[in-house]
């Protein structure tokens, strides 16, 4: 199937042309990003992926399907809730929204990431002193 091979080449090409965020960091940041996005209002898988992609200039990319096990686990843990609805064109869509525990978990994530960031930028500054 030559068509598939050629598009795979393009895919790999774009993957290496930008400096992508490494996979461990992508995995670790998924939950805080999802929680923070949902804090702004109800959303659905496709939109969450697009928004993260856009905000990171394409450097933070998930394999789309992998988002859903993460969402399902967060739902089981009571962080978010889901409902089936419809898109503007009448297609089925599953919407997720934040629950109280999710809000608390988000705040905890923010605290921890801020701390890591503060330590890192403190050390970076010292390099130039």
């Amino acid at each position: 199937m030559p068509a598939i091979i050629s598009s795979l080449d393009i895919h790999i090409g774009t993957m290496y042309s930008v400096s992508m965020i490494r996979k461990e960091l992508v995995a670790a940041s998924a939950e805080p990003l999802i929680l923070s996005l949902l804090d702004r209002g109800e959303s659905y898988g496709y939109a969450i992926i697009q928004e993260v992609k856009a905000r990171s200039g394409g450097k933070l990319q998930w394999t789309d399907g992998m988002l859903y096990p993460v969402l399902h686990r967060m739902e089981q843990r009571g962080l978010i809730k889901a409902r089936w609805g419809e898109s503007e064109t009448g297609r089925k869509r599953k919407y997720y929204s934040l629950k109280q525990d999710g809000k608390r978990a988000m705040e905890k994530h923010h605290e921890q990431w801020s701390l890591v960031h503060a330590v890192l930028s403190g050390l970076k500054k010292e390099q130039y002193v």
């Binding site: 068509a3 598939i4 598009s7 795979l8 895919h11 898988g45 496709y46 394999t63 789309d64 399907g65 992998m66 859903y68 096990p69 399902h72 686990r73 089981q76 843990r77 009571g78 962080l79 898109s87 064109t89 297609r91 089925k92 869509r93 599953k94 525990d101 999710g102 608390r104 978990a105 905890k108």
Partner: protein, 245 residues
């Protein structure tokens, strides 16, 4: 002529064949696939090409299945624990702790710490096992290395089966699950069958293996630990130790 519906049916068949279940999560994945194709088509990309890219972007069904299976297992384990508590957590007493040697007792102190670390409001066999890893019993760590269940391997496996809770704030004291209690009782029994007056960290380990159904037992089984060989290794180590004294 490219028939999108036919292609999507084919994609569904492939997902089902790889073990992705319907309706959950396949319906949601299909909704995603259609959304992606629609958006790409709106941007002027040919539908056949949009389909191809959307399928790739959703990902390899085998890899996806692994992730969803994990989700199912974690949920099942949590429900089972809840059921255990409801069916009489208090009925299995904890064995008398004054018979526990310092390393074994330290395990029981560390286990609730491990539970808190996960934001869990119970102490399960997995927390006992993690406590055991930190209890600094030299002879046990030696046995564990021989058995191929070193600290790192155990932590990794537990991390695969258990997710951390969302919010801190476990009750104090954190209650032991029925399986954890049973494992501790079996530990006491292991000690007495070896004619030991005190319960050592090694016996707690054997109790966890013997209990059989808890997360600790599952993890150890995955790592290839078997009760008989574990017991044999421990007896060997204990008698060597005794010989040295």
């Amino acid at each position: 002529m490219f028939d999108l519906e036919e292609k999507i049916s084919e994609w569904r068949r492939q997902m089902l064949a790889a073990g992705i279940k319907s309706p959950v999560p396949l319906e949601e994945l299909e909704a995603h696939l259609r959304e992606d194709i629609e958006q790409q088509a709106r941007a002027g990309i040919e539908v056949s090409r949009a389909f191809e890219m959307a399928v790739r972007q959703v990902g390899n069904p085998v890899e996806l299945r692994k992730e969803f299976v994990k989700t199912g297992t974690q949920r099942w384990l949590m429900l089972r624990k809840l059921k255990g508590f409801l069916l009489g957590a208090g009925e299995i007493p904890l064995p008398a702790l004054n018979n526990f040697e310092p390393a074994a007792r330290r395990t029981l102190e560390l286990a609730p710490e491990e539970a808190r670390h996960f934001n869990h409001n119970f102490v399960g066999t997995e927390h006992l096992l993690l406590g055991l890893m930190r209890s600094d019993s030299k002879s046990l760590s030696k046995v564990l290395r021989t058995l191929g269940a070193d600290n790192e391997a155990v932590r990794l496996e537990i991390g695969r089966m258990v997710t951390a809770g969302a919010v801190a704030g476990a009750p104090t004291p954190v209650p032991f699950t029925p399986r954890a209690r049973r494992a501790l009782q079996l530990a006491a029994r292991e000690a007495s069958s070896m004619n030991e007056r005190h319960v050592k960290a090694e016996h707690v380990f054997l109790g966890l293996v013997r209990e059989g159904g808890g997360v600790a037992a599952m993890v150890l089984r995955t790592l290839g630990v078997r009760l008989e060989s574990a017991r044999a290794e421990i007896l060997k180590e204990l008698s060597r130790h005794r010989g040295a004294v």
